[in-house]
Amino acid sequence: MEQRAAPIRVLIAKPGLDGHDRGAKVVALALRQAGFEVIYTGLHQTVEQIVEAAVQEDVAVLGLSVLSGAHLPIAEKLMARLREFGFRPLVVLGGNIPGRDLEALTGLGVDGVFPTGSRFEDLVAFIHQRAQVGSAVEGGGRRR
């Protein structure tokens, strides 16, 4: 039987009260199309809820969509919370992120920032390159 790696699990999360989820859903669908296993949190999530879901689902990638302008405080809180849990997926941020905040976000430990206008292929390549993939599973794994 052919050996295949289990698909990389990604959690797409929408922190805060903002309800504009077009970007989050579009990215989720694009990643699913690219072969990832994608879980979506839904709206109005606290950082605590997001980290809990990420741990529970044991995801390799945690993607956040932030359009409200609150990306810095959210990232700070998120990274601190992940440290508390000793859980460290690849953390990727998308949305309305001005260039001048990239350094600050990287400084906080965010692995990749994909602002509005980024291309799916770049995001997919970044995840393939950087995500820690779990042990390969025989016989197709959880691919669907």
Binding site: G19, H20, K25, L43, S68, G69, N96, G99
Partner: protein
């Protein structure tokens, strides 16, 4: 391009020929389908003279920070000739949370003004002539308490309930599809809308209690046909809810207005609006047996949508805005608004908001858009396209009714959300592979350094100001009275009586929005978001 010669398909799936002629009008009844402006089925406009008699209302969305800051922006816009206001509320307010709520942290005053109590609304409208300026409240899940606050403020300005004018967005069903500011499950949420419709019909007859929004559905990814179809399904739900209260359709249907989106193909949008007017008139007569022409008239704000704007080369958005305004005027919208050129990434700066206002003013003052009604009426192409759009909207409505079991079930099960999200994804693929043209993005792109965008400044202190003001209000109010009012609100929510009188009493007692929402949530529960993609 050679392939354009062979096949050209609009976003709505309609194929367009290179040339249209008289033969394309076959099957269109010049009287029954097109007729005259101001006459059924209102294809050409809901008034006989349209802008010739009165230009469109210009209503820019505004509001941020504290009520004082919002009050200043309102005054600025009025001084610049804007004749109506559209109030933006911050996310905690939209979600029924007080500024002091832990979930509101970092969000107070960020995307709109923060309102905890009546005191905030009093400040926001200080010295604004509410008898002359019509105010639109962009609020949905907590529309009932915010409307109640507005009514009390208007009364304090000497405008009694029977005379109060304005609009509340108050369209919860679209929030489940796009925008996402929902709190309660769909059932009780629609009941609240019925309560506001019934209350206004009986006590505030000049007020528009609901503005049904195709706008946000389109912004979330729906095509122009779905934008109108889903909005009409939602509006029909509210009409049925009003009729369940024992109201006659003509008692309230004329006070339901619409909010639609403009971006994309110019002719497709114009045809969309003409088709929507005709179909809405027919639905009101055929399905609801409306007799008063006012119930049949589709009253709309049609605004330039943020979805068409780009973060790349943002000045191009000024040009896009001008075309969107042109489309709105060619479509016969009663009210116009434009997303500003910086609105792809931030709350508009004062400069950007002013350019939007001037765009609409230039159109009406300089370009002859007021001269004659429905200037595209009678065009072979536009009339043909109008009929095509009407047929497709009708089919989509039937699909919602028959395959999805109606729009309420469709949003509860996530069917509408899924449909719209998949379209958004396909659209984005089209942008990325260049099959959908976007200037500055996939055409004439300039590989410059990523430009610095100016975001609307956020002052964290405004949260403290808001929390402090509410603490003071709480210290000064009659706590016993508040407790009784909230108890009464909970009883009414549970019993099914109209929520509005008890809400107004709670507002007068300076109960906070958070207190009122928590009371309702205890009775109604929370919406469970369907998460399937």
């Amino acid at each position: 391009m050679s392939d354009r010669l062979e096949q050209l398909t609009l976003e709505s799936g309609i194929s367009v020929k290179p040339v249209f002629g008289p033969e394309d009008l076959a099957g269109i009844d010049l009287q029954g389908d097109i007729g005259l402006p101001g006459q059924y089925p209102f294809t050409r406009g809901i008034h006989p003279l349209m802008y010739r008699a009165r230009p469109y209302t210009m209503r820019q969305y505004a509001g941020f920070g504290t009520p004082e800051e919002t009050n200043q922006r309102f005054k600025f816009l009025i001084e610049q000739g804007q004749n109506a206001l559209n109030v933006a509320f911050d996310l905690p307010t939209q979600m029924g949370l007080d500024s002091s709520d832990p979930l509101a942290e970092g969000e107070v005053g960020r995307v709109g003004m923060a309102v905890d109590t009546l005191a905030d609304m009093e400040l926001a409208f200080e010295d604004i002539p509410l008898d002359r300026i019509s105010v639109s409240l962009t609020i949905n899940a907590v529309a009932a308490p915010i409307m109640a606050m507005y009514f009390v403020v208007a009364e304090k300005h000497g405008v009694p309930l029977a005379e109060v004018r304005g609009t509340a967005q108050n369209d919860i069903l679209k929030e489940y599809i796009g925008r996402g500011a929902w709190i309660f499950p769909a059932g009780p949420a629609v009941r609240l809308i019925g309560d506001t419709i019934e209350f206004c019909s009986r006590h505030a007859p000049k007020y528009y209690p609901v503005s049904v929004c195709g706008y946000h559905i389109r912004e979330s990814g729906a095509n122009p046909v779905q934008e109108i179809a889903y909005a009409f399904c939602i509006a029909r739900e509210y009409v049925r809810e009003g009729m369940r209260r024992g109201l006659g359709v003509d008692d309230f249907a004329g006070r339901i207005s619409f909010n639609f989106d403009i971006h994309g193909n110019l002719f497709e949008q114009v045809a969309k609006f003409r088709a929507a007017r005709r179909l809405w008139a027919r639905i009101m007569v055929d399905e609801f047996a409306a007799e008063d022409p006012d119930s049949m008239k589709l009253k709309m704000i049609a605004g330039g949508g943020g979805g068409g704007l780009t973060i790349e080369q943002p000045e191009n958005n000024i040009v896009r805005g001008a075309y969107y305004a042109l489309i709105s005027a060619l479509s016969g919208a009663q009210t116009m608004a434009l997303c500003s050129y910086d609105e792809a990434y931030t709350i508009p700066s004062e400069k950007a908001a002013l350019i939007s206002l001037r765009t609409m003013q230039i159109l009406v003052e300089e370009m002859g858009l007021r001269d004659t009604v429905d200037p595209l009426g009678g065009s072979y192409y536009v009339e043909w396209l109008t009929s095509q759009m009407e047929q497709r909207i009708l089919l989509e409505i039937q699909r919602v009714d028959e395959s999805w079991g109606g729009i309420v079930r469709a949003v509860e099960a996530g069917l509408a959300q899924q449909e719209v999200a998949h379209q958004a994804w396909q659209y984005e693929q089209g942008i990325q592979d260049g099959s959908i043209s976007k200037v500055g993005v996939n055409r004439y792109r300039m590989e410059e350094e990523r430009r610095e965008i100016e975001l609307h400044p956020y002052r964290p202190e405004q949260a403290e100001e808001s929390i402090r003001r509410t603490a003071q209000v709480k210290a000064e109010r009659d706590a016993g009275k508040v407790e009784l009012a909230l108890q009464r609100l909970g009883q009414v929510a549970a019993s099914g009586e109209n929520i509005m009188p008890a809400t107004i009493e709670a507002v007068r007692a300076y109960a906070t929005l958070g207190e009122m929402t928590a009371t309702l949530k205890q009775v109604f529960g929370a919406f469970k978001e369907p998460l399937a993609l």
